[in-house]
Symmetry: C2
Subunit: 510 residues, 2 copies
């Protein structure tokens, strides 16, 4: 590719600004930033600012200045160390999802998700292909957040090779700072070219309209501060006023990364029509099979505690479709320490202030554990679509977001199973009426159930689209005929046992 | 001690209930429980039900039955395994605090905080004294929750030695269940007497009016289920109706544990009057000392990453007292990965639905990390007292609760420092007026600041009481004269460096 990303910055040779000139320009900028932050507090989007760049380029100093200028109660700073045990048992992006700022807040991220790909590439740990796959994952992540409204800015603090050397030497000489420089800093410096090449490629690939990279000359502290904070202020002000983002002076003129296409093709079928409700299981066969399957599950789950496979089970389906009963029959065969059931109800205010996937990311299990979601992230394309809680654009892009999320789970090694518990319309009515008459089940039936029932066809369309759009090779939907409860419960257990056994055998043979 | 806790249950020799009799009694009980749970959803207290007892006594089955009968969206079940890395780096009760149910919800706990003390004692790992200290900690924990309104019930599922043997043998014989029985179960059974002795002592010590133990004959499933669920229903109903708890049939007639006395004696002094505001630091001395201290801190913090000491810093003080400035001068000398600052503002709805200490427990650091609380749990005895957000009983008992909380931090090895940044009334006015005129600091000054200022004397009383009541040997208050900002900032850094250095030396010599 022609045109080095950093050339423009290096050619400019910006000069340091005098202290007086700085003070003159800093005061109105600071006032404007404070104003913008105050307006942000009432706005419905979060701001994500990422700082990466050459060591010594001023990432930390800029973050410090921001927290000094602004109201620190509405800022969070996140820097990342090696993975903790809990983190290493989840997909890579788990820890970043956990730390995302809520709407109205400002999150500052140091290197974060860009750190590993860059270091791994500079040290030749990964090839170009692997780097590109990781960058596609990052682009998808940022697009998901931007689609949800996040304002994302990424600053690359640049130093040319010579300037970095000078910076490291001067820090090392100074008795006050010399311990800040470790052997690692010099080792990285010796790979300056490798780092810069990888960074240029990375910036080109991940600079998008919604999450642009802004390359900044990092040599002069005052110049750098005014540049970065000025860009942030203009971008924030533009967004608050509903204007398009300003064309920042130092933005790398990078091609927009092509969107990563993940997941299955959408078929023009109606999956629900393929479900055969004719199978009926008698009590005796049921009790015997249930006991056998529960025993099998218990044993497999105990094995899995050793093998450390995370298991995620999703249950969706019609009201009164038998989700609760199927889940109970399953988990009561397990040791209470190895599973957790999440009943997905209305989100808390903390959850509501984040991306809709945030609260599910929070709850994914570590290795060896099983998490059951009784209703799930699929609410986005079911109830939220039908009830118009989500806009058409929102629920339509949710298919790709969900495929991407699930792909992260499965490529991390998670066994992900999704069950649709299906009953037909008459069976639902029969169950509703039974519930109404049963003194200890009446609470299960609310006016909302009847209202939902009136929209049966709309839900049916949504379910068909959902299944067609999100059944992937590694995370297929299992459609369970549920008119006969006994059949459905056994079917769920059978599917789970079979999948778990298969995966454990694979593990054992690895 | 005379009178064995389990004798009464063993003597009763309850018989199993027939299936028909069970169904007859279960239906109204289930209806009543469903009703109670629905009322609970709107009530302002959580319910904590703990199940412990002899292996095979039916803990798990009872929990399963409860989640089957009730609305599972408002129940959480918690069982505990060996400590994770994140857990082992915090005080023992961290993981229990994380899992406490919110108001209106039901939390079911399996063994939980009673598990380790019991096992350790039965296997002779700890002596009687150590057991009693751990039981006192548990009693204090449960009292803290009960004081906050939690309804606490603890069921001990009992089996006599013979019955347990039979249960284990029958499980082992059955091809479906035999893997449920491990070598450990038999090893525990061989120590039946040791377990029972320790359990009796434990039940006597921790059965209080607010968190009673209820001993249940665990031999017969139907009998046991009706007993436990009936007790729960009656206790819940009584509480919802504002009545005192029912006198359950199987409650151990245990002496109430004597409250554990922790912390310092309250002195009749006004600590704030001892602060000397005369010290003033000139700019040159300040800049030089600041650079030196920041360098020192950076180095100590880097050392501490290796030594793994958790550090908690609390900042309280008058509005405009200089907390923010002191914190910034300190943390900007640190690597962003090793610290976190929590600006304590209004709690989220999730936090509001828990005990006021819950949100601070969530945020305590792991080993090697430093967490700064800009305002803290002391809000309970400062603003909440002065503004009457907390009742007198609430803020008065908060001193002991806070001492207990901090004692858990320090005895876990946490370096805990508490700074009161003090300015006098005139200095505050001067700063308020300066802020009002400064275009980028005006946001810091709100009407509330002026309102708080009008209550200066009330806050002064509260602060004096707080410092006198919560300055303990391991967690003393540092009173910092703040009229001279430079002096205050250096003082905070000096205190922190000195304490950190001392503790690191201790560690190194261990």
């Amino acid at each position: 590719m022609s045109g080095r990303v950093f050339e423009e910055v290096e050619r400019e040779r910006a000069r340091e600004i005098s202290r007086t000139a700085f003070e003159e320009r800093a005061t109105p900028l600071r006032v404007a930033l404070v104003e913008a932050q105050r307006a942000l507090a009432k706005a419905d989007f979060p701001v994500i600012v990422l700082f990466a760049g050459v060591d010594g380029g001023g990432k930390g100093e800029t973050v410090n200045l921001l927290t000094e200028w602004l109201d620190p109660r509405r800022i969070e700073t996140h820097a990342y160390d090696r993975l903790t045990e809990e983190e290493s048992q989840r997909p890579e992006f788990w820890r970043y999802w956990r730390d995302l700022p809520a709407r109205g807040r400002l999150g500052l991220f140091l290197s974060a998700w860009y750190s590993r790909p860059l270091v791994d590439r500079a040290y030749g740990q990964i090839g170009k292909g692997a780097l590109d796959r990781r960058l596609a994952r990052i682009a998808a992540f940022e697009r998901t957040l931007a689609d949800d409204g996040a304002l994302i800015l990424k600053f690359w603090m640049h130093l040319d090779r010579k300037s970095q050397q000078k910076r490291l030497e001067s820090l090392q000489k100074h008795p006050r700072d010399h311990w800040r420089i470790s052997e690692w800093d010099w080792r990285n410096w010796h790979r300056y070219e490798e780092f810069t090449d990888a960074a240029e490629h990375m910036i080109r690939r991940t600079s998008t309209a919604e999450a642009p990279w802004l390359v900044v000359d990092g040599r002069h502290a005052r110049y750098r501060s005014l540049t970065v904070l000025g860009m942030l202020q203009r971008a924030l002000e533009a967004r608050l006023a509903g204007r398009p983002p300003p064309d920042a002076g130092y933005r790398a003129r990078a091609p927009v990364a092509s969107p990563a296409v993940i997941g299955a093709t959408v078929r023009e079928v109606k999956p629900l029509t393929t479900i055969d409700q004719k199978r009926v299981v008698g009590r005796k066969v049921y009790e015997k099979s249930l006991a056998r399957l529960r025993g099998e599950l218990y044993w497999l789950a105990a094995q899995n505690l050793l093998h450390g496979l995370p298991v995620v089970l999703v249950f969706e389906g019609w009201d009164a479709g038998g989700k609760g009963g199927a889940i109970r029959r399953m988990v009561s065969a397990l040791d209470a320490r190895c599973y957790r059931v999440h009943q997905v109800a209305a989100p808390s205010d903390e959850e509501r202030a984040h991306h809709y996937l945030w609260r599910f990311w929070r709850r994914i299990p570590k290795g060896g554990r099983l998490t059951v979601f009784d209703r799930s992230w699929y609410g986005r394309v079911l109830v939220e679509r039908v009830e118009s809680f989500a806009t058409k654009a929102e629920w339509q892009r949710a298919y790709a977001e969900i495929r991407d999320f699930e792909e992260q789970l499965t490529s991390h090694g998670t066994l992900l199973m999704k069950f649709w518990l299906h009953i037909d319309k008459d069976e639902q009515e029969r169950r509703f009426l039974l519930r109404r008459e049963n003194p200890y089940k009446a609470w299960k039936l609310t006016d909302e159930d009847w209202r939902n029932r009136a929209k049966w066809e709309a839900y049916e369309d949504a379910a068909n689209d959902m299944i067609a759009s999100t059944s992937t090779r590694d995370a297929p939907w299992s459609l369970v005929a549920g008119n006969c409860k006994r059949h459905a419960r056994l079917e769920v257990l059978r599917c789970l046992c079979a999948a778990l056994e298969k995966r454990l055998k694979q593990r054992a043979s690895e």
